[in-house]
Amino acid sequence: MKSTLLRLGVFHHRIGVVPVVHALLTIRQTRRTIVPLSSRYYQQKRFAPRSGMTLSSSILRSSSSSSSNCHDTTTAAPAAAAGLAHRLDGLDQPTVWQEFSPLATQYNSINLGQGFPDWDPPNFVVEAMKRSIDPTFGRNANQYARSYAHMPLATVLAQEYTHRWQQSKLPSHLLPLDPTTQIATATGVTNVLYCALQGLINPGDQVVLLEPYFDIYSSQVQMAGGECVYCPLRPDTSAVGASDVFTLDLDELESKLSTQTRVLILNTPHNPTGKMFNHEELQGIANLVSKYPQLVVISDEVYEHIVFDTVNEPHLSIATINNGQIWHQTLTMSSAGKTFSCTGWKVGWAVGPSHLVKAVTSVQQWCNFSPTTPTQDAIAQALQTAREEPYQGYPTYYDWLASDYRHKRQLLVDALLVAGMKPIVPNGGFFIMADTQHVDFPYDDIANTQLSTAMPGYATGKKMPRDWALSRWLTQTVGVTAIPPSAFYSLDTVDLAANTLRFAFCKGESTLQQAKQRFETYFT
């Protein structure tokens, strides 16, 4: 068995998952000598001990020190054939995504869960791809790209960020950006982030995540051998708008930072809340970060072009804050997927000082060899068109995009109000967090009768979180599916999610109207 999987397995415990992973949980907990809880749980209810446990017991035997008592608890499981497979059996429903997408299908529910658009990329993007490969255009982007980034794309990105960061007053000695050493591309931001964390983290290093966080972060940290440290955004219920409702307590953040902290992952505009970090907050973060020279900020900015008030609340990159105060400590990441409605093309990038970009490239070249060429080549063209040419009556494509999403946001806000929810209106991105405390539904019935292996607390026999139960009920009874945000919190703070749900509005107008109709049918 491989350490990557072990690390990943440990992660899964956070959002529950399946028995086999509980075996790993057993290991983790026994190391902390909290043996009885999980092992008793195994033996008492929910499922018969499986072979996974047997494997875990063999791991425990071979693993050192603290295993004397856990040995006893795990040998209660029947012996079964050893091997990798059993430990990983049954992982077909391991995450919130794999629970709610099939559930939505099963109940023919309108799926406002997963965050990808249900329309085609704009025509100029599709045409760009055609030019990349159709021989009549002579680009012929069919062979290996330069490993660190397809050069035409790196060149456009360097120009793009140089231009943008000049306007953000990044000091001129840091510009222009060098496309050969300060840009890395990979298979979407997920892959950029994976490579960066693999390249930066040593076992035991801490990574600070602001809760709620995109759930993929924590698993990637675990795979790299790092330890997640969580800092929740605290809700200010008196405020209006996601940016102000979800507040960052800088003192709390400071308390989470130490010389052990290697990475802070920032995400603005923020998934799932729609918060955009303002100048003051970013300044505060930069001041803290600059106290720790070993600390790297990874700034995930994939929703940078889906912002609703570019005049009063423009997108800000922390790399540029305070004249580039922490530019040397920041990797800025973004991708084409959200901006050009082509999440399946998987083109993402990192921009920053070469010593950090190298963390990405040095892993990426062995993980992928090189990212896909045709998609990179098409995005290189699309980025230029999007910035330079008018689109559908708007000065640029980006203006059109923001306007289109603003309209969709309003449709979903209206729909949620019908359902008696209070939408926390997002300032960026394409999700709405709704306050659901006034929605009346049979919480206890759902929690007591339905089984979810993916929910937080499953491993420890906790009651199904309210948001999880509500999302199941909404899917089954009302016919609209959302994602329960407790999937985006650690166990310690998961209660913060109880009265919220995340709805996506990256959906066609008719889909959003249908959702509203279903709410009307049920709630009015």
Binding site: A85, L88, G344, W345, K346, W366, C367
Partner: protein, 543 residues
């Protein structure tokens, strides 16, 4: 051990040569005085220095203005060690740029994919009914895994389950990377046949494993004629293999057809590998990299009933008795469809081996590019149809490569290189592992031989490297030296000295231009290149 030693030695050379700034002198001294030490902390600092120094790019080694700051490497980078420094690829990439030789170096075709493949991609892009533009299933786009299952069920003569027994990855490189990531834990051993595709070694390091090199040995046809060298065959010595496989072995990487030698492993060699698994534990898996399987240009004489009717001359290792359960079969679209940039690869195997890969995929990238996967799914059935006078595209491809191979064989033989006799020796892939005759070796100007070069294995340009560098800079033909495909020990024994890797996945005009450049070697006299600034105004007439 020898690896770490060599690695540190190279780092030391590198630092003494070129280090100039903020590196701490104490660590430097440590390194110089204790080249055998492998303490992690030392390695960390050393890697840090090397990674700062290396021009990290095949197109530019420009120093960036942004940095006074050292890259502080994480676990993965430390495991890679020297691999973040310059490599044969960055060095010969630089030479290619600077001297503009005819390039038979890197292994990608310089022609378009077949029209049906390009059409498939264009059609997929424009198909707004299917709209393959958003995320797809992380384990593999359903349309593609269905197609792959169809083909592999025929290859393997068993029903391959599209959802459970196939994982789609970003090229075969990632298929191998993820296989190793799921199988290997720190300290596990991975057997590589030497010479090996250099990517393997770094991927093994990244997984925390230890590469163990099992040498293939070169058996010349006839080296009796004085002053001449002959072609020959690379063979697997059963005793060597059995010597290195042990319960510590968690994976054996097999690559047939083989890069860089072009060797096609014989049935009995594959059976030997299967037998060697008895010496390893039950957890040991064969990773069978078969990306060149449709380019078996010199098929073995003997055919086996278990071989796939769709893939003449190639034996899928997993089709050997009992081997399905012990094998992850790895392949990709790049070589077959002359579309190396599409980067769609896959793992095929029993669910106990594929399941863990499925588990990692969502976190490594969520999914491989949907639109490219869809294009490949559409291409696969079209490749079975008659193509340009051949019964299928695969037949056409093999024929095309056979002709190119013959062009290159003639050019190399004519210039005094010994190459395999493909009437006698099976061959596949698109490289010739050519053996330099004595007459050619004598021509290499001394300034190239044993010159210090941080990109070369061991930090010095051995004969194969010197020959390739000289030819690229002064003769106008770029080939790849063989030493980077060998372990340091074997290279230092001289196993790689006579061999260079020459690619024939190039247009006929390119190969003919290469032949012309090679002609020069015949007319040169020993010592002709010795004048130190004899940069022949080279390539204008041959390119």
């Amino acid at each position: 051990m020898f690896q770490s030693t060599a690695l540190l030695a190279v780092i030391c050379i590198y630092i003494t040569q070129s280090w100039s700034s903020a590196f701490q002198p104490s660590s430097r001294k440590q390194c110089l005085s204790r080249p055998g030490a492998t303490k992690e902390s030392q390695l960390r600092t050393l890697v840090q220095s090397v990674s700062r120094q290396s021009g990290d790019d095949s197109t530019s080694a420009s120093s960036s203005a942004d940095d006074g700051i050292a890259f502080s490497p994480g676990e993965a980078t430390i495991r890679l060690g020297l691999s973040t420094g310059p490599t044969v690829w960055t060095e010969f990439g630089r030479i290619a740029q600077e001297f503009d030789p005819v390039n038979l170096g890197q292994g990608f075709p310089d022609w378009l994919p077949p029209k049906f493949a390009v059409d498939s991609l264009v059609e997929a892009v424009l198909d707004s009914a299917q709209s393959p533009h958003q995320y797809t299933r992380p384990a593999g786009h359903p349309n593609l895994v269905q197609q792959l299952a169809r083909r592999y069920s025929i290859h393997m003569k068993r029903d391959i389950h599209p959802m459970d027994e196939i994982a789609v990855t970003v090229g075969a490189s990632q298929a191998l990377y993820l296989s190793l990531q799921t199988l290997i834990k720190p300290g596990d051993e991975v057997v590589l046949f030497e010479p090996f595709f250099d990517l393997y070694v770094n991927q093994v390091h990244l997984a925390g494993g230890t590469p163990v090199f099992v040498p293939l040995y070169f058996e010349p046809y006839d080296d009796q004629i004085e002053g001449e060298v002959s072609g020959g065959e690379w063979k697997l010595d059963r005793r060597e293999l059995m010597k290195f496989v042990s319960p510590k072995t968690k994976a054996i990487i097999l690559n047939s057809p083989h890069n860089p030698t072009g060797k096609v492993f014989t049935r009995s060699e594959m059976e030997t590998i299967a037998e060697s698994l008895d010496l390893a534990g039950p957890a040991c898996v064969v990773l069978s990299d078969e990306v060149y399987k449709y380019i078996v240009h010199a098929p073995p004489k003997e055919q086996f009933t278990s071989d796939s009717p769709l893939c003449a001359g190639h034996t899928h290792f997993a089709s050997l008795p009992g081997m399905w359960d012990r094998t992850i079969t790895i392949s990709s679209a790049g070589k077959t469809f002359s579309a190396t940039g599409w980067q769609v690869g896959w793992c095929i195997g029993p669910r106990r081996l594929i399941g863990p890969i499925h588990q990692l995929l969502p976190y490594v990238q969520f999914c491989a590019s949907t639109v490219i996967q869809e294009a490949l799914a559409r291409s696969l059935p079209r490749a079975d149809e008659p193509y340009e006078g051949h019964s299928s595209y695969y037949e056409y491809l093999k024929d095309k490569y056979t002709k190119k191979r013959d062009l290159l064989v003639n050019a190399l033989t004519n210039a005094g290189f010994a190459v395999p006799d493909y009437q006698r020796t099976p061959g596949g892939g698109f490289f010739i592992f050519a053996r330099a005759g004595n007459a050619i070796v004598d021509l290499i100007p001394p300034k190239y031989l044993m010159a210090k070069n941080p990109a070369a294995p061991g930090g010095v340009a051995r004969q194969d490297w010197a020959l390739c560098q000289w030819m690229a800079e002064e003769i106008g033909l770029l080939c790849i030296p063989s030493s980077p495909f060998f372990s340091m020990v074997k290279a230092e024994e001289g196993a790689s000295d006579s061999f260079i890797r020459v690619a024939f996945c190039k247009n006929d005009e390119t190969i003919e231009a290469a032949a012309k450049a090679l002609e020069r070697l015949k007319t040169m006299e020993v010592g002709a290149g010795k004048s130190s600034n004899a940069t022949i105004a080279s390539t204008g007439d041959v390119k």
